[in-house]
């Protein structure tokens, strides 16, 4: 194994900058699409089950079980169904994102005080309107926090997507790992890992802004 060579790493970045940026872009895209899908599904499921004790424990427990499946195993299991590439990666990431989103949606909707629910009902809002116009906006900051947790989770897991031919920085890490001993092996693995970490930090910061601009001023602390 070759030792760490910092000037060599810099030279590697200079030479491969186009590749690195493409992979960062892919990584971000696959995470973003998965989060979007998981948010739509997770919030939808949350809205359906929040008020049913059986429904919500079923939903939360199922999502929790999915999260316990090792990512490598889950991705591999999807190869016979969806082949290689983007699709199994997207599906895997979406499934992993469901737990924090469903759980936070249910918690957020249930946190709305009975007094507010009663005054909404007393004003003549139908149950659906109470849910969508009162509870959902009030639960929104909690839901966004769930999506944020899911983002952290999936940015890491997305790297493993390369195992099933998925897009993103995982390709770089796997290339490094599979060519151990070669000149650029460490540079590949190190660059991929560093980019994943930096991406996670940037996305987390982004969510601070998203929370801020999508939450009513009346709900901010």
């Amino acid at each position: 194994m070759t030792g760490f060579d910092f000037p060599g790493l810099l030279a590697f970045w200079g030479k491969r900058s186009d590749d690195i940026l493409t992979l960062v872009g892919e990584h971000l895209l696959v995470v973003a699409i998965a989060l979007l899908l998981a948010t739509v599904i997770g919030v939808g499921v949350g809205l359906l089950v929040w008020n049913s004790p059986v429904g919500r424990s079923l939903a939360v427990t199922s999502a929790a079980v999915i999260l316990t499946i090792p990512s490598l195993a889950l991705l591999a299991a999807m190869i016979p169904l969806f082949g290689l590439g983007w699709v199994p990666t997207l599906i895997g990431l979406t499934l992993y994102s469901l737990l924090p989103i469903i759980r936070n949606t249910v918690v957020g909707l249930r946190e709305v005080s009975p007094a507010i629910m009663e005054s909404a009902t007393g004003m003549g809002l139908a149950p659906g309107a109470v849910l969508l116009r009162i509870q959902l906006p009030m639960a929104w900051p909690v839901i966004v926090t769930g999506v944020r947790v899911a983002a952290q989770l999936t940015i890491g897991i997305a790297a493993i997507g390369a195992y099933v031919g998925g897009p993103g920085l995982g390709q770089m890490i796997f290339q490094g790992l599979s060519s151990l001993g070669s000149k650029n092996a460490l540079n590949y693995a190190l660059t991929g890992t560093l980019c994943v970490i930096i991406l996670a930090l940037i996305v987390d910061g982004l969510f601070t802004l998203i929370t801020r601009y999508t939450t009513s001023k009346g709900l901010r602390a």
């Binding site: 005080s113 005054s119 909404a120 004003m123 809002l125 906006p137 009030m138 009513s216 009346g218």
Partner: protein
């Protein structure tokens, strides 16, 4: 349910409050009140919860006149809130009939019904993610009012509850004090000009000073809007101060007495009611009688420099008499001219005359 603006001839004598200016008044006290309220009738209403053997509300019947402010008073758990909440079907009655202006409440769509019944609860329940203006606009929007009409109504209502629309319309509930939030709660309930208001201890969570201020404002407001109001409280003094009539309730929402504050204070129907009034029934009655309603002495009899205004209550006068130790003090009109005098004897006589002889019960307790 459309807005049934019931015109009961434009005039109404207020139950427990000054009815006529009887003596030495220079200003005419108006008893004319515009009533936009509806008539409410509850007939043999029962509420039994699930498997419980004992009813929460048993055979409750009551007539509430248009524009009347009826107070439900009783201890916690007596069913007063349950009874009130059956009117807008937050709680569904097990049996019986409830009509608002002759229409059977149980036959109406509950959401449509509730849009025409103002509802104020103790915790207020303002929507924290909406501005004050948005909170008040919820029902008008549901009813399909135009933007223009809704905005004007919001401004009007904020002014009515003494909050400057320019300052408060764009604020969020958390930026308001408890008293201000409670005012917004009342404004929101009034948004679509409902003929009926249901109020569940609306001032219960505020501090005593704010509460008294809100009560005074609320009375003044009710003078002009004349809604039919059911007001639940466990505070008998609040009931006396605000109510046209008071229903004293015991377990299973049984009506122990239903009468004007003055009549209940003068002649409690039984020991239960008497215990609810507590001590000092005579003083509470004095607080209900303004000086211009009482038979007073000559202006020349007044001693000292202390004086009360004729719109003050006999209780205020007694307070000053005790404080100064004078035999009689001056009563002035709004312009500050002495128009009469009042002494302890005259105050006592007023209580005796008002009650038509000394009542056994209040006598026995004092």
């Amino acid at each position: 349910m459309t807005d049934p603006t019931t015109d009961t001839g434009g005039s109404r004598i207020l139950g427990g409050r000054p009815s006529e200016a009887t003596i030495r008044t220079t200003t005419t006290i108006t008893t004319v009140k515009n009533t936009s309220g509806a008539h409410i009738e509850l007939k043999n209403v029962n509420k039994v919860y699930g498997d419980q053997a004992v009813a929460a509300v048993e055979n409750f019947s009551m007539n509430v006149n248009p524009g009347e402010l009826v107070m439900f008073v009783g201890p916690s758990g007596c069913g007063k809130t349950t009874t009130m909440k059956m009117i807008n079907r937050i709680i569904e009655p097990t049996s019986g009939s409830i009509t608002v202006d002759g229409r059977e409440v149980l036959s109406l769509d509950p959401n449509e019904l509730r849009r025409h019944i103002g509802y104020v609860i103790q915790q207020i329940g303002l929507f924290p993610h909406m501005t004050i203006a948005e909170n008040i606009s919820v029902v008008p929007k549901l009813l399909g009012w135009s933007k223009e009409k809704t905005k004007n109504r919001v401004d009007e209502l904020l002014s009515v509850v003494q909050l400057d629309p320019r300052t408060f319309a764009g604020r969020y509930p958390k930026q308001l004090s408890g008293g201000q939030q409670q005012r917004v709660g009342v404004a929101r309930a009034l948004a679509a000009d409902p003929p009926v208001m249901l109020m569940d201890e609306p001032f219960g969570a505020t501090d005593p000073i704010t509460r008294e201020k809100l009560q005074v404002e609320f009375l003044r407001l009710q003078e002009t809007i004349g809604k039919t109001i059911i007001f639940v409280t466990h505070d008998f003094d609040e009931a006396v101060r605000l109510g046209d009539r008071i229903a004293v309730l015991s377990d299973r929402s049984k009506i122990e007495q239903f009468d004007t504050p003055a009549n209940i204070l003068r002649a409690p129907a039984n020991d239960y009611v008497a215990s609810f009034i507590g001590h000092g029934a005579a003083l509470k009655r004095l607080a209900l009688i303004p000086l211009h309603d009482a038979l007073l002495g000559r202006a020349a009899d007044a001693r000292g420099t202390a004086s009360v205004v004729e719109t003050d209550s006999l209780r205020d006068a007694l307070d000053l008499l005790v404080l100064t130790g004078l035999p009689a003090i001056a009563v002035t009109d709004a312009a500050g001219r002495t128009v009469a005098s009042v002494s302890v004897e005259q105050i006592s006589a007023e209580l005796g005359e008002d009650s038509g002889g000394l009542p056994e019960r209040s006598e026995a307790r004092s």
